[in-house]
Symmetry: C2
Subunit: 715 residues, 2 copies
């Protein structure tokens, strides 16, 4: 336990001896002292004005509709599910509209809605669609959504508190919020004390409610766990769920989701107990988590879709609007955050949102500072991480991600040393993300589909080596949780940026070591993606390395042998059963290339190896009885039998087509003669020609000072 944590816990112990901060309302995102300023800001600063206008419009629509609080019945995406979601949004929107406009009709709506809930809530049983081994809620099929509901609703209640009679407040508190507190801490005891994002939503709901209702006992439980011993609860979650770099082990999609209760509760803590200095906790962990969330996006705004992820999700998501506004207003006013706020096109109508909107209108915005970085995973930062390499402006950026992180619990994928490659604001080599149609009730209630386990999590669904057609750790989470990859090198020199990592436990007796780099050659606009995947075993194995690509295959060094009259699955299990084998080409040369046209630009991947490879062309869709899979494509480099195997690829980004003007530029790769000169445990040596010049690329796995070298050989 470090010094700071000790201090905080001492402070905590002290603070609960005395009474909490004198109650005033509102006191979370909007605070009483700032109401006038925010109100003026909604008339002055465009982004705040538009944000409030949206909220008021929605509040006005809510007022035209009869209040509906149906008996909970449906799963995700169903009628009662969506109605209760709508209700918490309406409560919050009307509460904000009340504070800004001063019109009591909005407060009355919130009051009536809450009284309606209060008249029913205690009679509701556990939700009928609750699933086995998954904590059911009362309002929703899972308790998680009940917590989200409460996090929103308690903010709304806080904002209309002064407009409700004490009698009605008493009804609402005693018939609704207190029973909810009881449900969330007692019925959901296990979740409440879990170190997990469900736990975070739960403690945030309980803690924020505790503050607003002035129930310090609940606040203390929320911060330190049911037993108040600090082994669970909010602070334990900050300690354990995030790495020292602010990475959340489940991956960016869940990081974004987990972030909201963290920052909202932090804001409440900061307002009610500023002496706790929660934003400074664990070396300013929360602001790191917010910044890391932003760094885990590509320039199109989408989160890197590693692990279970809905791929359309961007930093426009409300969680990051909250996160960003608070980071800027309450923690550190970095001008590059304003760039993202502008792209989010909204701020929270709040003290923080006022600060952001004001700064933007004063012209303080600067381009967001995407950086290359190694983001450590694990509570102590020693469980691998993510290597992110970027090159180019935010308008046309190359980005390479290597995933060498821990398993990330149940939402993790078996995809160590997977790489993602982006360029031109689009995916080039991509991750499938989750197999799920979120909120689409016809697709298994919007839940994760069976294909999420059988396909999306499997190793072959990723751009990494598969050994013997099996997934890493034989797709067993419990085994995978025990180990994480090792970072070998992350750094740069004049010519390139490099990430290198190894995984030695995923397959018995097989070492996987991958070194990927973005390499700048003279007179090239775009850098080369140079990838050396060294696989080493004492036994013979089959090694497959797929590259899942977007776009269309337009050229290859060989004539593909296509299965024209019949398609069969590539294999039987570990995801192979979901792949159609479209073409198979046993090459007789040691090198070759494949060219893809994607978003009007060319990507040529040259490959070589110790011996000729088999190249397979694949598409997704076999054994998919509910037609749930997306028919994406890949080319797979395959070595049917070898002890040691090195897959070398160089992907050149080149040229473009202009379909409007019907012109084409640099359709052919300038790279040629790719050769693997040698490869072993100590290093690898590769040569190639580019635009008439000859280059040698060396990797020295054991030399941190000269880890890679690129030498021009004359010609």
């Amino acid at each position: 336990m470090n010094y700071l944590k000790k201090v905080v816990i001492v402070l905590l112990c002290l603070s609960f001896k005395v009474n909490t901060h004198a109650q005033q309302h509102p006191n979370i995102m909007l605070t009483k002292a700032n109401i006038d300023a925010v109100r003026k800001g909604t008339e002055t600063y465009p982004l705040l004005k538009e944000s409030y206008s949206d909220i008021k419009q929605q509040a006005d629509i809510a007022l035209t509709q009869a209040i509906s609080v149906p008996l909970p019945a449906d799963g995700g995406g169903g009628v009662t599910h969506e109605q209760h979601k709508k209700n918490y949004n309406n409560i919050l929107n009307c509460a904000v509209a009340y504070q800004i406009s001063g019109d009591v009709k909005y407060a009355n709506y919130v009051k009536d809605m809450l009284l309606n809930y209060a008249s029913q809530y205690k009679k509701w049983p556990l939700h009928p669609k609750a699933k086995q081994n998954h904590q059911g809620g009362k309002i929703f099929w899972q308790a998680l959504n009940d917590c989200v509901w409460q996090v929103y609703v308690i903010q709304g209640y806080d904002m209309v508190y002064d407009a409700i009679s004490s009698k009605d407040r008493s009804t609402i508190e005693n018939q609704l919020f207190v029973p909810i507190l009881k449900f969330l801490t007692e019925d959901c005891y296990t979740t409440f004390n879990k170190i997990h994002n469900h736990g975070t939503w739960n403690v945030a709901a309980v803690g924020m409610t505790g503050y607003v209702l002035n129930k310090p006992n609940y606040v203390e439980m929320a911060l330190k766990g049911s037993k108040k011993d600090g082994k669970s609860g909010y602070l334990a979650q900050i300690n354990q769920l995030f790495s020292p770099d602010g990475y959340y082990m489940e991956g960016p999609y869940y990081q974004r989701y987990a972030l909201l209760p963290f920052v909202l509760f932090a804001k409440a803590i900061n307002n009610y107990q500023p002496n706790l200095k929660i934003f400074d906790y664990r070396d300013k962990l929360l602001v790191k988590a917010i910044n890391t969330s932003l760094q885990l996006t590509y320039t199109d705004g989408t989160f890197f879709p590693i692990n279970d992820a809905i791929k359309d999700k961007t930093y426009e998501t409300i969680e990051l609007v909250y996160g960003l506004d608070l980071a800027y207003a309450d923690i550190k006013a970095e001008p590059f955050l304003l760039d993202i706020a502008q792209r989010q096109k909204k701020v929270i109508v709040s003290d923080a949102g006022l600060a952001v909107a004001k700064a933007i209108s004063e012209g303080k915005s600067q381009p967001f500072n995407y950086v290359s970085q190694w983001i450590k995973d694990g509570g102590k930062g020693d469980e691998g991480g993510l290597g992110i390499i970027r090159s180019g402006s935010n308008e046309d950026q190359q980005c390479l991600l290597m995933k060498a992180a821990s398993q990330g619990m149940g939402h993790g994928h078996f995809d160590r040393l997977n790489i993602l490659y982006y360029d031109n604001n689009t995916e080039i080599f991509f991750d499938y993300g989750a197999s799920r149609f979120i909120n689409i009730e016809s697709k298994r209630g919007g839940h994760y589909l069976p294909e999420n386990d059988s396909w999306a999590k499997q190793t072959v669904a990723h751009n990494t080596v598969v050994v013997d057609q099996k997934s890493q750790y034989q797709a067993k989470v419990s085994e995978a949780e025990k180990h994480s990859p090792n970072l070998i090198y992350f750094g740069k020199n004049n010519q390139m940026q490099i990430v290198s990592a190894e995984e030695t436990n995923a397959y018995d007796g097989v070492n996987l070591l991958r070194t990927s780099a973005l390499v700048k050659l003279p007179h090239t606009k775009k850098e080369l993606l140079l990838d050396v995947f060294f696989v080493n075993s004492n036994e013979e194995h089959q090694y497959d390395l797929p590259f899942w690509y977007k776009g269309h295959l337009i050229d290859a060094s060989f004539k593909p042998k296509v299965f024209t009259a019949e398609l069969k699955p590539l294999g039987q299990e570990y995801g192979y059963q979901h792949i159609w084998l479209n073409a198979e080409n046993k090459l007789d040369t040691r090198s070759g290339y494949i060219s893809i046209l994607n978003n009007k630009r060319f990507y040529t991947t040259h490959f070589t190896s110790e011996s000729p490879l088999t190249v397979k062309m694949l598409s997704i869709g076999a054994n998919d009885p509910e037609m749930s899979l997306i028919a994406d494509k890949s080319f797979m480099l395959s070595q049917p039998k070898a002890k040691t195997q090195t897959f070398v690829t160089v992907t050149e980004t080149h040229g473009n087509i202009d379909p409007i003007n019907e012109t084409v530029d640099a359709a052919f790769s300038k790279l040629s003669d790719l050769k693997l000169l040698n490869s072993n445990k100590n290093g690898a040596e590769v040569s190639f020609k580019y635009a008439g010049k000859s280059y040698t690329y060396k990797i020295n796995y054991t030399d941190q000072k000269r880890f890679t070298e690129l030498v021009e050989n004359g010609n």
Copy 2:
């Protein structure tokens, strides 16, 4: 021959008795009298300023590069091909830069380039990549591109004319342009006299060169054909290639391409021989053709991709920049044209571009007036046409197209009564367009692929009925050219817009009659797409009606029987060999539905028929040895054996998902109980329920006054 044409020909005969308009340079898009105004405009009006800035930038880049005039060797997309394309663009850009900046270095570049061509041109043989039965060029693999080259280059020459010494002019004219004129009129005699877009480019090249070089003989040939009898040449092409509504029979993609030489030559004619009143010719045909080109786009700017079409093509294409600028400046200053000009983001640096940019900067722009209309095909307007129905604003427009046009020569598809449906700025039921990777040399030199014939042109690649798994007219162009569909009805009433057409010759003894409508019900944001396809024969046939869709299948009224372990092609020929059969469902009910999620919105297609149908789920890709096909998907309604068959579908556009906020709205269709009450040669009667109300929809094929009726039945 109508009165106007007689007058024009009389005028023509007269005009060539006297000398042509006194020579001055430049005198096509830029005219001497307007140079000062355009020059000032490039400093004043933003769109002209940016357009000139682009051109000057490209001209400046050209000046930094050595002039390269390689011996023609490569096909489309190859090095020499692209270099000669670049050269004509550079010539035109530098010529404009000379006129606006007055800097003689740009003129010298053009002079040097042209002298270089002049030193070589006569030695060049016919292009080595010329193809059999296709007129080869000297600079490019096909003469068509030589004509395009000349159309650009002669404009450039016209602009630098006064800056070149008479000696050099003499060299350029005698060693380059005169030989080109000779080549295009003598070696390419057949093309020059063809009523076809290749002919148009040829006569425009010859005619414009004739004007600039003051060679009236060539102008006269260009206008009236080699024999000067008016049976071929420019005026004959205007008469025959366009319908009275300005539709070009090959379809929008080629209409756009054909348009440029038409309007450029028209502009030259108008400047040199204003007495010909060319813009008034054939009841102002040219402006109709320009407007029709724009009406043949969807709100995303893309042309309807019927027949052979590259699908990315939009009205931003340079041909329509020329067309629009001239239409606005020289023909009629419609303010809605300015909207498109703004979306084109450029104007031609010219007299016309000045007028457009000035008007925009004066705030005269109005939203483009997309209209519902029947566009007649055929020189006399009696060869079918296109029915276009639109609903909603340009921001979120529903658009339905029924293709009931003539075959459209060699680029036509066998797709009569095909429908396309657009919504939400995207394709819902789409046309595959051409199978071609234009300018991608690795894909068969960028030419049309074999799959263009074997797949893209075939009936099954379209959303229309296929009889006995064969294409219309057994895919014989010569047969298909003999007939065209008949318009039965095009119109609207209070509730709906309707198009109905029949095709009676495509299949022996089978009548095809389709009636499609966009129908507005009370309280719906979006209209229903109501489609009744009546097929009638005395013999039994198999009838297939595919709907090629974008998006992902997310629900159906039945559980699809999916081929999970093996895929086989759907058939052997007429495109069926390119389709994988993914699922096959012999229904035991007469109606059902399929729901698609596309671009965050739901589309549910309800279907019914006289008897239960088989529904097949299909994807493209079988028998595709070069992996050239795009793996699009469809559901196909199929009746294995029937004499008379009515396919009724109602497609409801509903709800949305918001993946950023993870909400869903109206995921389920409100329509139900779709029934076919009766259907025969006289009409059809369909009933359905929508949002609790019951409706009957009647079609009376023989009653033009009450062609359709929609009656609400209470409930």
